[in-house]
Symmetry: C2
Subunit: 624 residues, 2 copies
């Protein structure tokens, strides 16, 4: 169901009802841009720490606008053993509510806009008919403004307890107004007096003067003429009438306030439900949602984690789930479209799903990818298929796994970290995994160097993997940790370049925290130009120090899970990345397809992978 | 005529012809935002120097996108005594041309977007069908890329004169390729060899290796399969065939390059024509046009002036013209829409205008304001009416004044400065006017102060005018320069505020150039909240020091002109400003209409104004 400014209010009860009834939700957002560097590749390094990644996304992505929000509510119909969906596609836009409301500026990235345009995205619906919204601070300010205005009109303000200071040049004007009102009060037959249109400053002076001079017996209000000129109307009223009018006005103001808060009310309802919210590769969706509808993101990652679990107590990322055992071995491509297709085939079982009455249904056969409502819908389907698959591995098997099942709890509140080689997810419920990185070198070199120079430098070490940091440094991971010291030693007398271990690099960085990396636009461009279109062969890394993960709400995930989710380092061959890349790159090269083909040729042993699966996923009792 | 991506190429000859034939052009741009502060009011001060104003516009406005460009070419048909117009409305968008082309980020201001939406602006046409463009540096880079690729393919590159360094992990791959080619070269019957799809890096290695190993006799090219996979095709060719193929490829590349330069070609053609370009309140249009289609704006205002006169040797701003004698006294409201209406009435004579064959005509009766093509069209009409009016004042009167007439030269290359109280225009051809400002005070005060506090402070001085700088300082202009010293003296022992003369303020500012004003987003908000919705009464200021203005191309304007163009200080009541304000402010207050009405009631004596006119405008010979 498409929701825009004009049908938002009338459909809001339907949205609330869907949220009320649902077992879980799937969400998806479309943005006006992805990354404020020249490309996502340049912005992110394969050896970012979660803290670094958060800072980069916060700095380079939050100025974009989330302008389409997809919400799909799933409810299980036990009687008919099927899921009933209510899918909404909201267009949102920060239309200024009044002269005093914030005039939001947002950034558009031409590659993202061009990509959405190629998908048939309707920008007019966003800009002409988008639902407005306010974050919590803006809502508070608007509420205060209304309160202040009301207290001014009521004469309850402190200012109006004593005579008002009238600027010299306004004295004559105010005197004339008082003279008029005195005359009006003496003529019993006249019930109302309309003053001439005047300026906002003059109206304020009139309000203040009248509430001091005539605290009772008159009602003062500002009306607009047909010509949109504002003028003050004064009426003689008894106390009862005055109260009735004020209540009426108050109700009207409340409605205006609600209209201004607009789409944020939907997000608040989702958050307040405390129900499971599913998304695919959802870190940016979550960051944007909080940033846009709650408050600017905190500086510190831990504060962000706290804030996020506070707003959305249960999040599940289907991309992380699909990249984790027991799915990792049987799911080849975790991009949303490919995942959805894969989960229709054995050993998976596509769920029985039907759209609720009065809701249009999506047809997964004719894809409508990158419409947020559709993406949310298929994200939900993916979640159900994977959850049910976990049930099928139990003995006895369980055909339908609920959103409240303990089976899926190990996946809660872990958000997929795109293109980080050895940290699969951001852990919202505690410290993040800390991979050893004892096979990683930090190399600095002259800015003329290209990838081929690095390959040549390390040609004696066999397979290496390069992860650029900026135009004069990169991480190079070797296949054996033992080679690291050899590389460092042989470089001791080199003049043009410098090699240190990852540990040394991190130590020095923490020493001089002031020295910030220079991520200027120019250096991005430099990095991008140098970066070859294909990375070296990926080295499969597996060296985790299982950091203590303390779950606040759910079971602590088994430490073995760290091993479980060690993905084949998907740095560049990640299919989700390909999708994003396509967006920045209208001329994709053959390499991607070639890699995909190569992978598809691999054969997977289902039984084998299942037996490799960690016990934690299958031994916990199912709450259903 | 509406021009979008799909019909740009086919219509470009028509555009070129219109530019070739025209007597003059009128232009107009629509932008994704106006000012990167919370409001234009907060961004600009009534006592900005031209240098300050330029810096503010450059800093706060150039991140917006010029996404619709209106061009109307006017040609006089002597035989039929009428103007023939060709009007174009171009939608432009920086669609990335390839993976290596710039991924432009631009800012949208929600109030501006909302304003355009309310005018029926079609955003889909911009984002889905906008014509791409490159600035001169981007064009140069793309040209270089093509040259480099060609020299690589030709084997002309220095790199290929010696064996290529092949990274260790690519050696096997390259060896296999060479083996294949050796086999192919030995089999006479085979004319072409298709290699398997491979990565861009591998293709580069193949190109380099082959141009070194087989400098003659084969032609190497990259083709795309149906699946968009890129692969190399090798053909046996004799020298003639090889050259033919290369020329073909070169022609194709030139076309691709032209497509990428796109809309910039139109701007280059306008610039190269050297003809008069007319705009209404055109400073931002000119700045955006140069910034987007030529190069980033220079830091220094004088450099900007040089650059601008170099690109557009003759500019004329109809808002400045309408605000200058002999028009000032008979034109009440200089907003484009109002000006166009006014110039249909006596003493003006609406020009005879017809759209050229095959060009749709605009009807000024049913306004299409804020479509750039329409705005350009009526800007041109306004120019013609005003130019002809100047002719009518000659004896004997001249009914039709040409765009090359000396009558209009005094208006050349002076761009209207919005809301600067005492400097009417930016002079592109020399130093700017330097008003004395000996009646102006600079006041600093606690950040709690509001406008009313300032009024109260100066209540003894009669009419004052306040111009906020930031939340702790403002300019206050008094009605008499003699009062200035009194105000400074009385403030000597004040603790909470400080008053200095404008001259003192400027002196100190120049002393400590490092101390820059803090124009943070927050301080904007602060200023905006405090600013009352209505300013105090405007004080009419008239104190110029006529600075030496040295024209480079045209006659030096008579120094008396400085007196001529002293506008009633239009700081806030300026109608053009109301238009902009409306854009930032969906709830305009009655004050504007009230002011307008008041002004419209004034009666003007036409004869009187004509006799007040400066001689320079009417005594120079007309070149027609």
């Amino acid at each position: 169901m498409e929701i825009i400014r004009s049908n938002f209010k009338i459909n809001l009860p339907k949205v609330y009802q869907a949220i009320e009834e649902a077992d879980f939700f799937a969400i998806d957002g479309e943005f006006s841009g992805i990354s404020d560097g020249p490309s996502v590749t340049a912005l992110t390094s394969g050896f970012d720490t979660p803290e670094e990644r958060y800072q980069k996304l916060k700095k380079h992505s939050m100025d974009f606008l989330l302008f389409q929000f997809g919400l799909c509510a799933f409810k299980y119909d036990h009687a008919n053993s099927k899921h009933v969906t209510k899918s909404f596609n909201f267009y949102v836009f920060p239309k200024p509510f009044s002269r005093s409301s914030p005039d939001v500026k947002f950034v558009c990235q031409s590659s993202s806009i061009d990509f959405l345009a190629s998908q048939g995205f309707d920008f007019n619906k966003v800009f002409c008919s988008g639902i407005p919204y306010l974050n919590q601070e803006e809502e508070r300010q608007l509420r205060e403004q209304f309160d202040e205005k009301r207290s001014q009109a009521n004469g309850a303000g402190a200012l109006t307890k004593c005579p008002v200071t009238i600027p010299e040049d306004q004295k004559k004007f105010i005197d004339q107004v008082i003279e008029k009102i005195e005359g009006f009060l003496q003529r019993e037959e006249k019930r109302t007096l309309e003053l001439n249109p005047c300026t906002g400053f003059q109206r304020k002076l009139i309000y203040q003067t009248l509430s001091w001079k005539y605290p009772k017996g008159i009602h003062v209000e500002t009306l607009e003429t047909d010509k949109k000129e504002r003028h003050i109307v004064i009426s003689k009223v008894d106390e009862e009438e005055r109260k009735r009018r004020e209540q009426e006005k108050y109700a009207k103001e409340q409605e205006e306030l609600n209209d201004a808060v607009g789409f944020s009310r939907v997000i608040h309802a989702i958050a307040n439900s405390g129900k499971l919210v599913v998304g695919h590769n959802m870190l940016l969706d979550v960051m944007h949602t909080i940033h846009q509808f709650y408050c600017p993101l905190p500086v510190d990652l831990n504060e962000f984690k706290e804030m996020t679990t506070c707003v959305f107590p249960r999040l599940l990322d289907t991309k992380l789930m699909a990249s984790t055992q027991p799915f990792k071995d049987i799911i080849n491509n975790t991009s949303l479209a490919e995942l959805e297709k894969r989960l229709k085939e054995t050993p998976f079982d596509p769920p029985k799903v039907e759209s609720a009455e009065g809701f249009p249904s999506y047809d997964t056969a004719s894809e409508q990818l990158h419409e947020a409502g559709y993406d949310a819908y298929i994200t939900g389907l993916c979640f159900i298929s994977m959850a049910n698959y976990l049930g099928s591995l139990l003995s006895p098997p369980k055909t339908c796994v609920s959103a409240r099942s303990k089976l899926i709890e190990p996946f809660f509140n872990k958000l997929f970290l795109m293109r980080v080689m050895d940290i699969p997810y951001l852990n919202l419920e505690g410290p993040d995994l800390q991979p050893k990185r004892d096979h990683v070198l930090h190399v600095t070199f002259p800015k003329e160097w290209k990838t081929s120079d690095l390959y040549q430098l390390f040609s004696a070490f066999g397979n290496i993997q390069i992860s650029w940091i900026d135009d004069t440094s990169a991480f190079v991971s070797l296949s054996q940790p033992e080679q690291v010291q050899i590389a460092v030693n042989t470089s001791k007398y080199a003049e043009s370049y410098r090699i240190q271990t990852y540990a040394e690099y991190v130590g020095k960085k923490q020493e001089s925290k002031q020295v910030k990396r220079k991520w200027t636009e120019d250096s991005w461009k430099e990095v991008d130009r140098k970066r070859p279109h294909v990375p070296g062969p990926c080295y499969h890394t597996n060296s985790f120090t299982a950091a203590g993960i303390v779950g606040k709400r759910t079971l602590s995930p088994d430490p073995r899970e760290a091993g479980v989710v060690d993905r084949e380092s998907e740095g560049i061959s990640d299919p989700e990345l390909e999708q994003t890349d396509y967006c920045a790159d209208p001329l994709p090269e053959g390499r991607k397809k070639a890699k995909k083909l190569k992978r598809m040729k691999k054969e997977f042993s289902l039984a084998g992978s299942a037996s490799d699966s960690p016990a934690v996923l299958f031994e916990v009792p199912d709450t259903w």
